[in-house]
């Protein structure tokens, strides 16, 4: 019997999975946009993004636009790789099909 794959625990959290999926479709996104799309609170969102950053899946850029602070998030290559592997593992576990 073939060995079943393990799911990456960093990505498996629902909010972190939602964040990585969102970021996979854009080049970069602001904190406020991610918050509006996920409906999460500032604290929880910040904590989950920090975990993704610590794992090297998300890169953060802070800058000022018209004197207002702006935090931009971007998915890194290891992040994209991890999400792809996660989807493949899910497909294997479910025996279904999905395209990313």
């Amino acid at each position: 019997m073939p060995e079943l794959p393990e799911l990456n625990p960093v990505i498996h959290g629902k909010l972190r999975l939602a964040l990585l999926s969102l970021l996979s479709g854009v080049e970069e996104a602001e904190f406020t946009w991610l918050r509006s799309k996920t409906g999460s609170t500032d604290g929880n969102l910040g904590a989950q993004l920090l975990k993704l950053e610590e794992a090297g899946y998300v890169a953060i850029e802070k800058k000022f636009v018209q004197r207002k602070p702006q935090t931009l998030y971007r998915m890194t290559d290891p992040g994209r790789q991890a999400l792809t592997e996660y989807v493949q593992a899910l497909k294997q576990l479910l025996g279904g099909a999905i395209g990313v």
């Binding site: 999975l17 939602a18 996979s24 479709g25 080049e27 946009w33 799309k37």
Partner: protein, 205 residues
């Protein structure tokens, strides 16, 4: 946790990935108002340059295109920056934006230089302007897979041909008609379509 509930949970995650990827790619930008704004800009410049406005300010007709283009270029820039704040950057959006930005700069330089230098062969001016707008609309239409925008490109190209082969009056009429349909009407239609997409997006959220 049973095998069934585990499978249900995994299915939920697959759906979540699909939903979020689609949400991230969903275009929420609205740029159709720019078409209407620039349709008005062309009409203002044409009216000014042909003596349609009275008053000391509008006396210098050779300044009509340079001044109108500068004012509307700055206005478009400010409004675009304000409206696109907090929106994510997508490759698709950047591709479409770059086409229009490059055309805007080219058009600005061309019209400014033509106006200030006084080398204003009206028919050639209409032909060049219409061709540039045709090129940009065609590229944007193909990128967005939007047949109506490609149809606008064809109208602009026809206006360019009419400008070179027709009389001055015919070329002016062709230009005015192209502006009306490809800027004003197309822009208003686009705004209605964007509003409808936004409403659908809200109801699905």
């Amino acid at each position: 946790m049973t095998a069934d509930t585990e499978e249900l949970d995994l299915n939920d995650r697959l759906k979540l990935i699909e939903t979020m990827i689609a949400e991230g790619r969903r275009r929420t930008e609205s740029y159709s108002w720019v078409f209407v704004l620039w349709g008005l800009a062309y009409y203002v410049a044409i009216a000014w340059s042909t003596g349609g406005f009275t008053g000391a300010i509008f006396g210098a007709r050779n300044l009509a295109w340079p001044v109108t283009m500068t004012v509307f270029f700055v206005l478009t820039w400010i409004l675009t920056v304000r409206r696109s704040r907090n929106q994510p950057v997508t490759t698709h959006g950047r591709a479409v934006g770059s086409i229009w930005f490059a055309m805007g700069i080219s058009m600005f330089i061309l019209l400014l230089s033509l106006g200030l230098s006084g080398r204003g062969d009206q028919q050639l001016f209409i032909a060049v302007t219409s061709t540039m707008l045709g090129t940009t609309n065609a590229a944007s239409g193909m990128l967005l897979k939007w047949k109506l925008q490609f149809a606008c490109a064809i109208v602009w190209w026809l206006a360019a041909v009419a400008a070179l082969f027709g009389t001055v009056t015919q070329s002016s009429i062709a230009f005015l008609v192209a502006i009306f349909f490809c800027q004003i009407v197309f822009g208003i239609y686009g705004m209605i379509r964007e509003a409808s997409q936004r409403r659908q997006g809200v109801s699905h959220a």
